[in-house]
């Protein structure tokens, strides 16, 4: 039982002293005002904690956390996810030739195709991600290597990029977009085909709506306003060193060209951890039929991005989505663990309380 007393906090406002010699009059005294605040007489609520209050708190936390954890774990298990690693380091992998024969001056892009089977149908919107591992997009120097004013459409920053972009700042002419993050843009293209009746049918992949709305409409703006012809706007700049095409040729759609290209925006939003995935395309749901029915599929990859030098790996992930995002069993397990630890602590404390806490209530008189 918790007894709460409406306790008036009292403290003797002991006078800081009679006025010193030579000082006369009450207006110069150092007495603090006689208000409730200054004399510390505020009404206060003092929770009186007893064993009877605190122990149920432990059990309550345990009882709240464990069902949340179970709910999260079950939700996460219901999310369908499929992953293919297509780095191609093993000789048996279809992309082995592409991974070995990489060179910067490749004019003919290397393509490889990987076949896979989906055992369960995917319902609703299916999200297609590319995943990289051992790629530290959170390295401090890398994260700073960008010019946000240039990306916001500032024409003066377009011609004179920020010093943070070094060494990807100028290549005879100023680089647009400058910096290491833009330079390392992921440029593999992935296409998905389903085999039905012996033929390969391409699955339509939507490239709209993959970036944050605030990113696409506020943070990233093309210089020169809403000009749909971007080539003259960028005329005194050059493309980043590792890009095949300049930034104003990223897409034929003027809404997705230049700095507001959604793949570019998604890449520029640096990931938190060295193993990450980024949204690549969305497969829209179509009516009542499953979006990706069971069957054989083929993934056609244009292998442009070299990961061998830093021992990274590349993956393609297909996943459905729930209210908590993608598949994340860790959160459910964390809740269940913390809840059970709390519950266990509550039990232990209860045992301690029973064995030792009642010692003071015994009626033998100490001699």
């Amino acid at each position: 039982m918790m007894a709460s007393s409406y306790n008036a906090k009292e403290e003797d406002g002991h006078l800081s002293g009679t006025p010193g010699p030579g000082v006369v009059g009450a207006d110069t005294s150092k007495k603090p005002d006689n208000t409730a605040f200054k004399q510390q007489r505020l009404p206060a609520w003092q929770p009186i904690l007893t064993a009877g209050t605190v122990l149920p708190a432990f059990f309550a936390i345990g009882v709240i956390f464990i069902p949340i954890g179970i709910g999260l774990y079950v939700t996460s298990n219901n999310i369908r996810e499929f992953e293919i690693d297509y780095t191609g380091l093993e000789a048996s992998s279809p992309c082995f030739n592409c991974s070995q024969s990489y060179s910067w001056n490749n004019t003919k892009p290397c393509t490889c195709s990987v076949s896979f089977t989906l055992d369960q149908a995917f319902e609703g919107n299916v999200f297609m991600y590319y995943g990289l591992s051992n790629f530290y997009q959170n390295h401090r120097r890398y994260v700073k290597s960008r010019d946000d004013r240039q990306l916001n459409g500032d024409t003066s920053a377009l011609k004179d990029p920020s010093k943070e972009c070094e060494p990807y700042r100028k290549n005879v002419k100023p680089i647009a977009p400058c910096g290491a993050i833009a330079n390392s843009l992921f440029n593999d293209t992935l296409a998905l085909y389903i085999s039905s009746n012996g033929t390969q049918i391409e699955i339509p992949l939507s490239k709209k709506g993959i970036a944050w709305w605030t990113d696409k409409h506020v943070k990233f703006r093309n210089p020169g306003g809403n000009n749909s012809n971007l080539a003259p706007v960028f005329k005194d700049t050059t493309k980043p060193v590792n890009w095949a095409k300049p930034v104003y040729e990223l897409d034929t759609d003027p809404e997705n060209n230049g700095f507001i290209n959604e793949d570019f925006i998604v890449w520029m939003r640096t990931a938190a951890l060295p193993t990450f995935r980024k949204l690549y395309r969305i497969i829209q749901k179509k009516g009542m039929t499953p979006t990706l029915p069971r069957g054989n599929y083929t993934l056609l990859i244009t292998y442009n991005y070299p990961v061998h030098s830093f021992e990274g790996r590349k993956r393609m992930i297909l996943s459905t989505i729930s209210w908590m995002g993608g598949k994340n069993p860790f959160l459910g397990i964390a809740y269940i663990t913390v809840g059970s630890v709390c519950f266990f602590l509550g039990v232990v404390l209860f045992i301690i309380h029973h064995k030792y806490g009642n010692r003071g209530n015994s009626s033998d008189i100490p001699s």
Partner: protein, 226 residues
Amino acid sequence: QRQELFNGWQVAGTLLFSFYTSLVHFFLPLGVFHYSTLDYQTFALTVETAVIFSVTAEIILQTGFWTKFNTASLFLSLALYFVSTLILHSPGLHAAAPTDYYFPGASLNAFGNPLLWLTALVTAGTAILPSLTARAITLVLNPSDTHRVHSSGLTTLPRGPLEMQSCFQRGDPQRRSSYAMSQGQGFGRLITSGVGLHNTAPPQDRRESDLDAPHKTDTSAPMTSQ
């Protein structure tokens, strides 16, 4: 002088607790964000929110007296955190100085994601678990005196530590056995001086009821026991 607030054990315990809290605040969100599509700024916001929650929980545990100022400052600090995050991440500030305020839209996107709230909640809960347990253990092993006064009422004698200050002490002139009294002067003087009358009153401080010691107060002091 008893080194209660700053001794070696206290420092070591505090260091260990802060080490544990830092690890929890990093590794739990790391586990959630591992191989996820969420970005660096959302991760930062998750850890920030978790830290704010656990610090607020610690303050709630430490506050003994809840005045209206305490409650107000608690809510104000939480509100200020969310408001200032939203302001610092607003597009307006980004338009003014894009290189300084490069988090536009991060808080709106992140706070709309339930994963952030769930992660912050479980991280804060894990971080305060040791301090909560320590408080509970001290409470269970040393129940406070205020609890006893309220539960047993003022009419019965308080027990427990107060029992140590019992009125019966060795050499007490008011508590001699009858055998001892018969060897000496006897009960006469005790009865006529009225010392025994004070034993019926609730136990007071020893000095006040000791008539043998001369009073050192002013003559204008109110009448003492007589």
